[in-house]
Symmetry: C2
Subunit: 326 residues, 2 copies
């Protein structure tokens, strides 16, 4: 016989008492596809909301091989040793297809995993980025209510998921590698523009010289971008997570940003805008999925796409026809 | 008594006979909000489709003051003097609010206006970019059916309209000015990444030195971007539309691009992708406008936005509630 499941109220109580088991269970409800679980999850979130919104949310991205796990391990350990409570989440829609799930290999974060002031949760699974992102957004709220004051959200360089993470964090950090031409490889369009800081990782040993050159180049490139709404000028830093170098400087930079953003009230303004964005995004995702999952639409869409390809109809005439089937 | 209106068939016949009056009348139908007119417009477009898709479509953008009108006048005149038939369109959703409509002041294009091989049509009016963009897309089809082989589509630097224009052209040209710091002023995020060429205009007289410096800087910046799907490496050119300098070089560059894009079949692939994009975009715009224009939704949306701002509900719970009202 199984133990009776804790109620929503019990889980909320547990979360507010900083009980990790209650937090994990609530996140599992958020990630469930069972409508009953979602209802319960919504009730929990609603009650956690007044206790959330208190942390710093930091997005961390970079291509595979850049050393994200090691960076998060070192950075997270630095933060907990300075009295922070750190939650590490991930947004990785590809993880369902089990192609290289990030955070899947917790052994790369062996110190942080054992750290009582850290909580690590791999990416929710899901077929759509929208779904995965929703779960992460709600998980942030639960973690904040459970007393985590620094949320690190890892994502992998696939363009769309960076945009999703960018729209749920206060500070967006891009990890890069230096090296012969490599410093440019794999940056997806638009991601450099989102970065509040670029950290050139593995800036140690033989790599240091190239890292310094890359720093100059990225600094120059960043200055060519239009100013950010926050008024912040993005910076480039060198670090070696493996050698534990440059980590306090990253945290200091984030602190500088936060001072600026709080002084100018951009911080609150931005969070409010992010909330509005997620409201509209959720609505629009649903409107689209309801439409495109309609079997009549599905069949006719294929036909119309073929007719467009053959120049037999215009995109607008085809759209009219499809909308008429709704 | 008014003359009887020409039928759709008559207008199609006129367009294919390269009759400008028929073309203008058909465009007026496309731009109308009258459902009867739109029905007629759709019939005309359907019949013009087999005769369209034959031109080169070039998007031209740049902030006010960069000299867009003069550039288009000089560039367009160069093209017609080389046997091209040039249609100049604009995408400018702001024009309805009569704040500085582009192409409104045709006197700036006094040669091109009188040129028999040129056709200039100011931006359609409309309250939404989606609507304005749809009209421009359909106008392109009509212009092509009427024998115009080079379509220039002007837009003004407001971010979203660049994205719309970028998704309806083969080649995207960004006009810039050089000068003390000015070369960066006013570039909206993401627009530099879209450009296939940056033309530094007004590169004459005292400006020439600064223009050359800017050229080096932009070239460096462009190289920092990830490669384009077309395989094309964007270039930076100097020009002075007023002094008629650098114009053949711009056309030659576009020719180089077209050779590459046609050799690799990227040209056709891209047009096909653009058509699919516009099909989905039209559908999604309509789904959204149907939803947000619902008076019940309108009222409740305001309430929910306020509750989100006060931390009383989450974006996702609010979305659920609103979607339940559909």
């Amino acid at each position: 016989m199984r133990h009776s499941k804790p109620s929503a109220a019990q889980l909320v109580q547990g979360i507010l008492a900083q009980d990790i088991t209650a937090l994990s269970r609530a996140i599992t409800l958020v990630e469930s596809t069972n409508p009953e679980h979602l209802k319960k999850a919504n009730a929990i979130i609603q009650q956690c909301l007044p206790h959330a919104n208190t942390s710093v949310r930091i997005g961390i991205t970079g291509v595979p091989g850049v050393g994200k796990s090691t960076f998060i391990e070192t950075f997270g350990t630095y933060l907990t040793s300075h009295g922070k409570k750190v939650a590490v989440l991930a947004v990785d829609p590809s993880s369902t297809l089990s192609r290289g799930s990030i955070l899947g290999d917790k052994t790369r974060m062996e110190d942080l995993v054992k750290d009582d002031n850290a909580f690590i949760r791999p990416s929710a699974s899901g077929t759509s980025l929208g779904g995965v992102a929703r779960k992460s957004r709600e998980t942030i709220i639960l973690c904040e209510a459970a007393g985590f004051d620094t949320i690190l959200i890892e994502t992998v360089g696939v363009g769309q998921s960076e945009t999703a993470v960018h729209s749920m964090v206060d500070f967006f950090l891009l990890l890069k590698l230096a090296g012969a031409g490599d410093e440019l490889q794999g940056i997806k369009r638009g991601i450099m523009e989102m970065a509040d800081a670029i950290v050139i990782n593995k800036a140690d040993g033989d790599n240091l010289k190239n890292a310094k050159i890359a720093k100059v180049e990225f600094n120059r490139a960043l200055h060519l971008y239009p100013p950010k709404a926050s008024g912040w000028q993005p910076k480039v830093l060198l670090a070696s997570a493996l050698q534990n170098q440059g980590i306090p400087e990253v945290w200091k930079l984030i602190g500088d940003y936060l001072s600026l953003a709080k002084d100018t009230h951009f911080f609150d303004h931005n969070r409010n805008e992010q909330n509005k964005f997620w409201l509209l995004q959720t609505i629009e995702d649903r409107l689209k999925s309801d439409f495109y999952n309609n079997p009549f639409i599905k069949t006719e869409l294929k036909i119309q796409l073929e007719r467009i390809e053959n120049g037999e109809t215009s995109p607008f005439a085809a759209a009219e026809l499809l909308l008429g089937l709704k």
